[in-house]
């Protein structure tokens, strides 16, 4: 009997008990498993260059990709606006997945509805589902805006959202002047960052229609992109305020995704006011904090609003410098001493830690903008990015990243693996080992297999708590990133020098 009432064992220890170990052994009799020697032989083979070549030769198969599909990004954009309900037109399972995925990462409620299309809608189209769905969503959840996007099902059968919305309004599902922005977000095009872009463009197009005025409102628009660090949105707002900038953060989901526990559940929290978003068309300029999740949106703003747009990723010292200088130029305000002091502190922290990081070989993966920011920061530290895997890459990104790598002697070893996945990364880590791996929670499987020290940065992070609450942006975010990286390297050093009288010569107190 395994359980003792004073020391109840759950899965983490229960199955180490002898009786369960015996159960596992006995079960093998029926499993039809392979000879353990053969398993070990194949396991070794997967670490080889021969396997790597076969692995990289695959053309049809994707294994453990670091990307999701469009609607996930679309609904993240949508919840950044005041009292906005995301509505995904298509089969309902998708929304269940999106809600679970975000909820697991943020540990927050995430509200989104679906038009619950089934076989009949596959044959006849989903118009009736939308007419009823908008009516139900409007009546029950009382949103100020419903942001519509599609699943691959609706895209394959060719449902036309624009026409469907008109029909639904005609049918009285929602008032005629009720904003229902939309975006077509097929899952077989791009990834979640494309979906963010499409939805952001859809929302801005809808809200700003007819709002153009003769004069500017003197504001700067900031667009975060597919950003999952709540701390980053707060940090950007803080920096912009310190800069005296009059700004609108378009799609500010930080309160939605980090709501207080005060005994009351509110479905809609914070978000960019719809009026402010509508007035974004009259701003001086727009700065996007990510490039590849905002490219269509920026293109639209440049062409349709006639507004100057730029991209500025406030990651690391140089990235933050550039962001603040861009804000300074736009606002005409100098960079305040407070931020200069923060800069000095972050640089000081880097100089304190740099020696532990200099020359360290790094592998990393994630979305293009995340990876770009991290590479920029790693080069500042004298770390050497080696394997860079970006599943949702594109040629423009690869050229931009290559230029960044070429600008530093520490970027020489780097290889950009666009369109590759984490099973490719596994081969890379076995054949050309590195000192540190950076990526989202899925990297824990690589950590286990290759024993590469691992820092969790990106989306999703399911298996560690609260990382998303921190900032990775700004000078303060720089210190967070530095902290995670240097202390993971030091943890590893301790682990490698821990055996008494054998390796613990260097088990130092002071590092």
């Amino acid at each position: 009997m395994a359980q003792n009432v004073e020391n109840i064992k759950d899965h983490a220890t229960l199955f180490q008990e002898q009786e369960y170990q015996e159960l596992f052994t006995n079960k093998k009799e029926f499993e039809g498993g392979h000879d353990p020697d053969e398993v070990a032989r194949i396991a070794e083979w997967t670490k080889s260059w021969e396997y790597r070549d076969k692995n990289f030769a695959r053309e049809a198969l994707t294994v453990n990709p670091a990307k999701a599909c469009q609607p996930l990004g679309a609904i993240l954009a949508a919840v950044g606006f005041e009292s906005t309900l995301p509505f995904v037109h298509g089969s309902q399972g998708c929304v269940a997945y999106f809600r679970s995925h975000f909820t697991r990462h943020f540990k927050e409620p995430f509200s989104a509805v679906s038009s619950s299309m089934t076989e009949d809608a596959a044959v006849f189209g989903g118009l009736n589902n939308m007419i009823d769905g908008l009516a139900n969503a409007y009546a029950l959840y009382k949103p100020k805006m419903i942001a519509l996007c599609t699943t691959c099902m609706a895209e394959v059968i060719g449902d036309d959202l624009g026409a469907f919305i008109s029909n639904s309004k005609e049918a009285g599902s929602v008032p005629k002047d009720f904003p229902v922005p939309y975006a077509h977000t097929p899952s077989f095009v791009g990834s979640h960052i494309t979906g963010y872009d499409n939805m952001m463009k859809g929302i801005l197009t809808n809200l700003t229609a007819g709002q153009k005025k003769e004069t500017t409102n003197g504001k700067v628009n900031l667009i975060p992109g597919f950003e999952t660090y709540i701390g980053n949105l707060r940090e950007v707002k803080r920096m912009a305020s310190l800069m005296g900038a009059n700004y609108t953060l378009l799609g500010d989901n930080s309160d939605y995704l980090d709501s207080p526990n005060d005994g009351e559940y509110r479905m809609y929290q914070g978000g960019t006011k719809l009026d402010d978003a509508a007035d974004a068309i009259n701003a001086e300029a727009t700065i996007a904090l990510q490039a590849y999740s905002t490219s269509k949106t920026r293109d639209y703003i440049t062409k349709e609003w006639g507004q100057k747009t730029s991209v500025s990723r406030p990651v690391g010292i140089r990235g933050t410098d550039e962001f603040l200088m861009a804000l300074s130029e736009l606002t005409g305000n100098p960079i305040p001493q407070e931020l200069e002091l923060e800069r000095g502190r972050a640089v000081d922290a880097i100089t304190d830690s740099q020696s532990w990081i200099h020359g360290k070989r790094i592998a990393l993966y994630g979305d293009p903008d995340l990876v770009y920011g991290l590479v920029s920061f790693l080069l500042e530290l004298g770390a050497e990015p080696v394997h860079i895997v970006v599943s949702n890459s594109n040629p423009e990104f690869e050229a931009e990243l290559k230029a960044l790598l070429d600008s530093s002697p520490y970027g020489k070893e780097a290889t950009i693996w666009g369109g590759k996945d984490l099973w490719h990364m596994r081969s890379l880590l076995f054949t050309e080992p590195v000192d540190l791996l950076i990526g989202n929670s899925y990297g824990k499987y690589l950590w286990r297999d290759t024993k590469t020290p691992f820092v969790r940065i990106g989306y999703p992070i399911f298996d560690r708590h609260h990382l998303h609450r921190y900032a990775t942006f700004g000078y303060q975010g720089t210190i967070n990133l530095l902290n995670w990286i240097v202390n993971t390297l030091l943890d590893e050093l301790d682990r490698n020098t821990i055996i008494p009288s054998k390796t613990d010569i260097s088990y130092d107190l002071i590092r």
Partner: protein, 511 residues
């Protein structure tokens, strides 16, 4: 066909309650009865007329003595409401097929479905991941626009060749269709037949496109049917050929419908083995293809999640004459009843051993109840889950002195609601496919002490300062099955309900 067997529960001399009232603590030490039928009407009033009529069939109050809970089920969800339901793909890949550990399950179609269901269910297994075991990996054909236009059969065929090259120890492959596959008319059956011939392995095409059916439930059924059509014929042939080496014994049983969440199937299996039975197969948590193939030779199928696997159990009864028995391993009362019912299917040796095992573990269970009972006595629980749990976990709560005031299924059918009558008392609020809005309103009115539901609901209720446990995933704990699991279950309910953090929610200056 013989009628399905279930354990029948002796009528207990409980008082017959037909009044639809639940006592609600007012916070002043007194309790007032809530008229639950009126509450249902009140909640329904928020819907548009058409939807109200549809939803009212799904909400009711159980009347003691009735053979059914009085709700309609397994009907399309309303569009535009927050349903917790998933899709057929989730039912097939996420539940039934995904946990078969030595096969590779291809998420065939765009990247999203495989990504969101990647490692999401904690189906524990023993094996070397990526070598002879593939449970926590995501294999996808990552459909692009060209695959939608030209069809994906060629890609699928090539992909399977690549799988064979890179993962030679896989025992077989399943093709889990995502929405576009059925819509564009791909012939995955033809690919499966061809590739099965080429590789000599089992290749199973599963038509579990997400738009099929009204929930994940149809996906379970479809997955069961593919086992019947694509696995069992091979098993029959192998048995005739003598290539499926197996010496049947008199006490051979299979565990059906246990997904080994947090190790549930193991803490169940250990009891069956202790009473002298030989567990030949586990479906599907920690299961293998060979285990599936051996199952038609067992003497009795023991089914835990009736909803997801009654179909294949019925098939084995018809085709192979194997009887099946639904059992419940939640909480000592039901575990003992189930062990006795199972033992009754065998000889006196087994029956005597079952009594021994029950007696031996009863001491453990009593100690658990003695410790945790006083802390949990009289606490009211609102349940809403999928599969078997809206009924099966009720006795485990009762063993701890807790009371179920409401329950319902995400995707239950009429037979589930019939079976539920064994477990719930008159006056229990029943909600089928409850919407987010309804669930919140019910909880606000009924004021349970604990809500036990899924990840999408968790933080909604925690923001209301309500203790919550995830009853799909055991909130990352478990196992909850068996006597060992009951100890963890009791501990977890205590830590949720009696967490000191609930007293922190209200700021002292607001009290």
């Amino acid at each position: 066909m013989t009628p399905p067997e279930t354990i029948t529960y002796p009528e207990t001399a409980t008082e017959v309650t037909t009044e639809a009232t639940v006592d609600v603590e007012t916070g002043h030490g007194t309790s007032v009865p809530v008229d639950t039928k009126a509450l249902i009407q009140e909640v329904l009033d928020s819907y548009p007329e058409k939807s109200r009529k549809k939803r009212e069939k799904h909400l009711n109050v159980y009347e003691e003595g009735k053979s059914d809970c009085g709700v309609k089920s397994n009907i399309k969800s309303l569009p535009g409401v927050m349903t917790t339901r998933g899709c057929a793909y989730a039912g097939s890949k996420g539940v039934v097929w995904g946990p078969i550990k030595d096969m590779i399950h291809i998420s065939h179609g765009p990247v999203g479905c495989g990504y969101y269901s990647w490692s999401g269910r904690r189906n524990y297994y023993i094996g070397t991941t990526g070598i002879d075991t593939f449970g926590t990996m995501q294999f996808t054909s990552d459909f692009q626009e060209r695959d939608i236009v030209f069809g994906g059969d060629k890609k699928l065929s090539k992909l399977i060749d690549e799988l064979e090259e890179l993962f030679p120890l896989n025992r077989g492959i399943s093709i889990q269709s995502e929405c576009p596959i059925g819509l564009i008319g791909d012939d995955i059956e033809a690919v499966a037949r061809k590739k099965s011939k080429d590789t000599g392995k089992t290749v199973v095409p599963v038509r579990c496109e997400g738009f099929r059916g009204v929930s994940q439930s149809l996906g379970h059924h479809i997955a069961n049917d593919t086992i019947r059509d694509w696995v069992f014929p091979k098993a029959d042939k192998a048995q005739k050929d003598g290539t499926l080496a197996f010496e049947p014994g008199p006490y051979d049983v299979a565990i059906i419908g246990d997904y080994n969440i947090g190790g549930d199937a193991w803490s169940s299996r250990i009891l069956l083995e202790e009473i002298g039975l030989r567990v030949v197969a586990q479906w599907s948590g920690d299961g293998t293809l060979q285990e599936m193939m051996l199952t038609p030779q067992v003497k009795l199928n023991l089914i835990h999640c009736y909803r997801s696997m009654n179909y294949i159990s019925r098939h084995m009864e018809e085709a192979y004459g194997i009887p099946w028995l639904e059992y419940n391993f939640f909480g000592p009362t039901e575990i003992a009843a189930s062990l006795r019912a199972i033992a009754a299917k065998f000889d006196e040796t087994i029956q005597a051993k079952a009594e021994e095992v029950i007696a031996r573990y009863q001491a453990q269970a009593d100690a658990i109840i003695e410790k945790f009972g006083p802390r949990l006595q009289g606490k009211k629980v609102a349940l809403m889950v999928g599969g078997l749990r809206p009924r099966h976990v009720v006795p485990a709560f009762k063993d701890l002195g807790m009371e179920i005031i409401s329950t319902g299924y995400e995707f239950g059918h009429n037979d589930d609601y019939k079976r539920t009558t064994h477990y719930v008392e008159g006056g229990t609020l029943i909600y089928d496919d409850v919407t987010g809005y309804e669930f919140e309103e019910f909880v606000k009115a009924l004021k349970p002490d604990l809500v036990a539901s899924g990840i999408k609901e968790k933080y909604v209720f925690q923001k209301m300062a309500l203790p919550f446990r995830q009853m799909h995933s055991w909130d990352y704990s478990g196992p909850y099955h068996g006597y060992d699991g009951f100890a963890i279950f009791a501990r977890d309910m205590d830590l949720a309900l009696n967490s000191p953090t609930w007293d922190l929610v209200k700021a002292p200056w607001k009290k």
